[in-house]
């Protein structure tokens, strides 16, 4: 039996903040011919792993950019970890991003720094205490299975290993959410499976993972939630299809 103080009234459960919530979001670019996104509504709950799928240009990256405040919606509301993106202040953006990890298809590593230095860089620029940096870097390198490659430069690593370094960098600040934009797009099948397994492990440890990909084979075999975009609209949400709230 739970202690009375821990009981949350049913009316409040519905209002608990989601990790990410999109409400009727539209995004139009001034130069674009049509809207990049239209009428997008969904939410991502704690501990969730979801795929964002769709063809190139369907709006996957735009949705991710809205989540980490690289873009603002033209209309509608986007909330990430309680931050209201349409009205987020410039000084709040770094605070939001320190609680998020983002990885990309092209890894975005600094080529003139070693794996460990790339990861340490993410801690240094956010003002982490100098004495805790080495152990935190070692811990995430271990977590992504690259403990022996700390001193390797990106050019000395395979694509899969470079992506692991990028994931380690995203994880080093203990983010609540990991956003991955086509993280396996440049990888062969074996490396793809390895990176996917790593992302699942990260999710199992409690981090929300949202992965944009057009690797349908991987998505179908996963059994995870799927959000499918077509021409800027959300055409399928497996959670809604199974009776969940979209």
């Amino acid at each position: 039996m739970r202690h009375p103080a821990e009981v949350v009234a049913p009316s409040r459960i519905r209002h608990l903040p989601d990790v990410i919530r999109f409400t009727n979001v539209a995004k139009r670019y001034a130069s674009g011919t049509g809207p990049a996104l239209e009428g997008i509504t969904f939410h991502i709950a704690r501990n969730e792993f979801a795929f964002l799928t769709g063809h190139s240009g369907a709006g996957k990256s735009t949705i991710l950019k809205l989540m980490y405040a690289e873009e603002r919606p033209s209309s509608g509301d986007v909330r990430t970890l309680g931050f209201r993106i349409p009205s987020i202040r410039p000084d709040e953006i770094p605070r939001l991003r320190r609680r998020l990890g983002v990885v990309f298809q092209d890894f975005r590593l600094l080529t003139d720094r070693t794996a460990a230095e790339n990861i340490a860089f993410a801690l240094e620029v956010t003002g982490a205490r100098e004495d805790v940096i080495p152990q935190r870097v070692a811990r995430v390198l271990e977590q992504v299975g690259l403990a022996g490659k700390a001193d390797a430069f990106p050019r000395e690593l395979s694509g899969g290993e470079q992506q692991r370094v990028a994931i380690a960098r995203a994880l080093v600040n203990d983010p609540a959410v990991l956003l991955a934009d086509e993280p396996t797009g440049n990888l062969d099948e074996r490396a793809t499976r390895g990176v996917y397994q790593l992302l699942r492990d990260i999710n199992d440890a409690g981090t929300v993972v949202l992965m944009a990909t057009h690797n349908l084979e991987l998505v179908r075999a996963s059994g995870k939630r799927i959000l499918e975009l077509r021409d800027g609209t959300l055409v399928f949400d497996s959670a809604a299809d199974q009776g969940g709230e979209p």
Binding site: P90, P94, R97, A122
Partner: protein, 289 residues
């Protein structure tokens, strides 16, 4: 702060060729501005020396009582424009004429009477040596009953005025143009370094570095490059100046170099340019990425 220094110095060493190139570019842009500054400084010095010769001479009626004259001279010395007043007797005037006009020395020797009247010679304070002020003082002198005539070489003073205006205008315009060109060149140079590090900036933003944290190393790097460029440009200017002196050029007109305050201003200008160039370039980039 330590990280800012480390990143700025790392960037210097990692992009050594580009850094050397940008410091050199900044140095040459500042060198041209510095050379122009030297020319302007020496030109102003020359004009000042010419100005010092501006003199008003009031010829005094012969037989003016010396007591009245002494009182009047005190009044004249109290004019705000007046630096010094000197009474020149008839004898002094003749002696001076003999000394100055060597060709006429014999003619002066043959004179039975001294044709030169006594006079009051006035020198004006700096800032009052233009035609308007000189004319005004001359007019006031004419008001004294013992003054027979006032001379100050109106044409000459007016020409000096024109020269001063021209030097000011041309100097200002060319100086401004040189400074602007330096600003543009330095801005472009720094923008190249910033562009080269666009990836780094985008990663810093992505992992949640604040804008000021991102700017820090770039601003420091820009300021250091500006300072280094300024030091190099200063040394180049010094070399050119020393070269001119060694050749014996300009000795007659007393060639001048920057005073310490000018030198400091020059280095501060370089540093500020580097800083401003970085601020603009990074700012633009922060909005763009």
């Amino acid at each position: 702060m330590k990280l800012v220094w480390r990143e700025a110095l790392l960037s210097f060493s990692r992009t050594r060729t580009l850094s050397v190139l940008s410091v050199t570019t900044i140095a040459f842009a500042l060198f041209v501005t510095g050379l122009f500054g030297l020319v302007a400084l020496n030109l102003r010095g020359a004009i000042n020396r010419i100005e010092e010769r501006v003199e008003i001479v009031a010829f005094v009626l012969r037989g003016t009582p010396s007591q009245g004259l002494a009182v009047a001279m005190e009044d004249i010395a109290a004019f705000p424009e007046v630096l010094s007043v000197r009474y020149v007797t008839e004898e002094d005037a003749l002696a001076q004429a003999k000394q100055d006009l060597v060709e006429f020395r014999d003619a002066y020797e043959d004179l039975q009477i001294n044709p030169l009247p006594p006079s009051i010679e006035l020198r004006l304070r700096p800032g009052f040596r233009d035609a308007a002020h000189v004319g005004e003082v001359a007019e006031r002198l004419r008001g004294f009953p013992f003054v027979e005539d006032v001379r100050y070489g109106r044409d000459w003073v007016e020409r000096l005025d024109a020269l001063r205006t021209l030097a000011g205008l041309v100097g200002g315009a060319i100086g401004l143009a040189f400074a602007l060109v330096s600003v543009v060149i330095i801005g472009v140079t720094i923008r190249i370094t910033v562009l080269q590090r666009a990836r780094e900036i985008s990663i810093m933003r992505l992992v949640g570095a604040t804008d000021w944290f991102i700017r820090g190393p770039f601003l420091l790097e820009g300021a250091l490059k500006g300072l280094l460029g300024g030091v190099l440009a200063y040394l180049l200017c010094l070399a050119v100046y020393a070269g001119f002196k060694a050749q014996g050029l300009g000795l007659g007109i007393g060639l001048e170099f920057f005073r310490p305050i000018h030198s400091l201003a020059f280095l501060a200008f370089g540093t500020l340019l580097g800083l401003a160039g970085s601020l603009v370039s990074v700012g633009r980039h922060l909005r763009k990425v």
